[in-house]
Symmetry: C2
Subunit: 350 residues, 2 copies
């Protein structure tokens, strides 16, 4: 967008003022900004120009101006100065990165909660883009004569287990046999490749323990399925209410229900290319987000997966602050996953 220096200054002043106050800003307050030594009348002329360019809007004739989505776009792309995180903020963010967790799903969930708390906006979190997973190895551990543990490990180094109790006894030798059979037949296969026919053949080969094959394999299939299925976590929905644009229920209710809909990934934007993306108002695809802004960042999980965290808020959002915090946090998460996977209790490690 080609604007004179002064217009840029004025636009920035208006937007930053509006971000703070949530009130339409008039020519008078802008005329008072330091470094801008012109009268309010001049500002009014300039504001009329900016409105003609589609960067400002007027709620009604006798009100000040508010930024249009296009105005925010120009602000975000060209005018916004990098927000410098304070020492305190950095410390807080670092502390928040000491996540206590076990499963990937729970890490993601927690990351969302934390970022919501940190930004005071509702947040969503999900993981995207895993490739096709296969089982790399089976282990069966005898516990007692009538129970054993199944341990499976995928090619993405996720390990899952299950304790099974049997109606009848089983010998160590039988288990051994079963184990070998599983490792020769069912490793390296994706979910689709495990056919009923394959199961039948294997069951036959297992002899006495034929029933156990299907038990173990169906567990393995559940694991594969659970790894491919994506869910979204949302957090901090109530924090919406602290922002003046959501003081009216007509505005708040639909957005809140949209956010708390049962987990269905794909309803939130995911950054393409850049690790951070800002979607302002109508730039959002989902109808419910058409007059909100979404700031979303991604981080590297490893194994071809990316984590996504984002916050949702009014278009009047402190983009500088939010992007600074979000990108810092996402970078921290990337680092966390890179150096040794998840914290203690986890079931995967780099």
């Amino acid at each position: 967008m080609d604007l004179t220096e002064r217009k840029k200054k004025i636009l920035r002043a208006i937007i930053e003022n509006y971000i703070q106050t949530a009130e339409p800003v008039g020519s008078k307050v802008i005329a008072a900004t330091p470094g801008l030594n012109v009268s309010s009348a001049t500002i009014r002329n300039e504001m009329a120009d900016l409105e003609a360019l589609g960067l400002l809007e007027q709620p009604h004739t006798s009100a000040g101006r508010i930024p249009s989505p296009g105005g925010y776009r120009v602000y975000v792309n060209e005018l916004m100065e990098d927000y410098r995180l304070s020492v305190q903020e950095t410390r807080k963010l670092n502390e928040a990165l000491h996540l206590k967790m076990r499963e990937l799903d729970q890490v993601i969930d927690q990351a969302g909660r934390v970022i919501s708390q940190l930004t005071q906006y509702p947040a969503f979190a999900l993981a995207a883009g895993t490739s096709r997973v296969t089982i790399q190895r089976f282990d069966l551990l005898m516990v007692s004569s009538d129970s054993f543990i199944i341990v499976v490990m995928t090619d993405t180094n996720v390990v899952r287990n299950r304790l099974v109790r049997l109606p009848s006894d089983l010998s160590e030798a039988q288990l051994q046999l079963l184990n070998t059979l599983l490792n020769t037949t069912f490793t390296g296969l994706t979910l689709d490749e495990i056919t009923p026919e394959l199961m039948r053949v294997a069951s036959h080969a297992a002899g006495e323990a034929y029933g156990l094959i299907s038990l173990v394999v169906s567990f393995a299939m559940d694991v594969l399925e659970s790894l491919e299925q994506r869910t979204v976590h949302t957090a901090g929905i109530a924090s919406l209410l602290s922002h003046p644009e959501y003081r009216s229920l007509d505005r708040a209710a639909p957005l809140m229900s949209y956010l708390s809909e049962e987990e269905d990934a794909g309803r939130f934007p995911v950054p393409q290319g850049d690790p951070m993306e800002i979607l302002i108002g109508p730039e959002n695809v989902a109808d419910a987000l058409k007059d909100t802004s979404v700031v979303v960042a991604s981080y590297d999980i490893g194994d071809g997966m990316r984590g996504v965290i984002g916050v949702v808020g009014p278009t009047r959002m402190d983009y500088a602050k939010i992007t600074a915090r979000l990108s810092y946090f996402a970078a921290g998460l990337s680092r966390l996953f890179e150096q040794g996977g998840l914290p203690p209790g986890d079931d995967r490690e780099k």
Copy 2:
């Protein structure tokens, strides 16, 4: 509460009317209830009596009456008729019991979501009262020359695992030794009983692999810790907004933030004795719940643990319907846990 038959009839009619309409009910509508062949004037006299007894309230002189918390109490204890679940409802509830899940924590979370959806009120879910857990058995599974899987099983039959990658190589024999050492030294101990001193002694005994002892044991300790720590899950907060009493943000906002506070168990009531409890308005301990009602039910998880699910709503709540649904669902969960623990993918089984 000793009331004449007619007073009971009137009180019930008022409460049930108010539950439906959320509007103060006048003498006229009550006079119209079938089976109550008296004039509105008589009703007015009776209503005045009921108000004197503290069972009804009048928002202002020229309005109808609304039930007081005490009135609801009498209703719930003596007047309410059992709500008969329709076939459709039963089917819906049964369907909802086909939970897809893996970890106990996730089951609990999901139960909360489901019950919120089923009742249209915000719900909370938690697990209460575990005994002290110990590790019953360790297994170390060699994966490659520089990595292995730790599998631990607790006395409550929870199995957890972790994949470890080492900076240096390790032989099968060393791992075997380590395994034996762990099983002789660290089984049957609660979290407190695993002292640094014990760790030191064991590390010494491990010889070359001394560093691995602390690695495995600290994983075990994390598992124990995670099993003892209780968290609350809340769901369906946005559904509050669909009820007329929360159409004003002043009422909705504080309750919503209370509900979405970071998980801190103990902030929600847990049924004592009876498997179901109803707390009406000021009967709640928490300030934020003083003018809401909470209906809470518990179900048996096994291993000395009880699951708790509850819903939160206005004191004007359809107690009959809610309690019917909640107790049916809780009973279903009990059954589910009893017969074979969690569905596929889970890490524990009866």
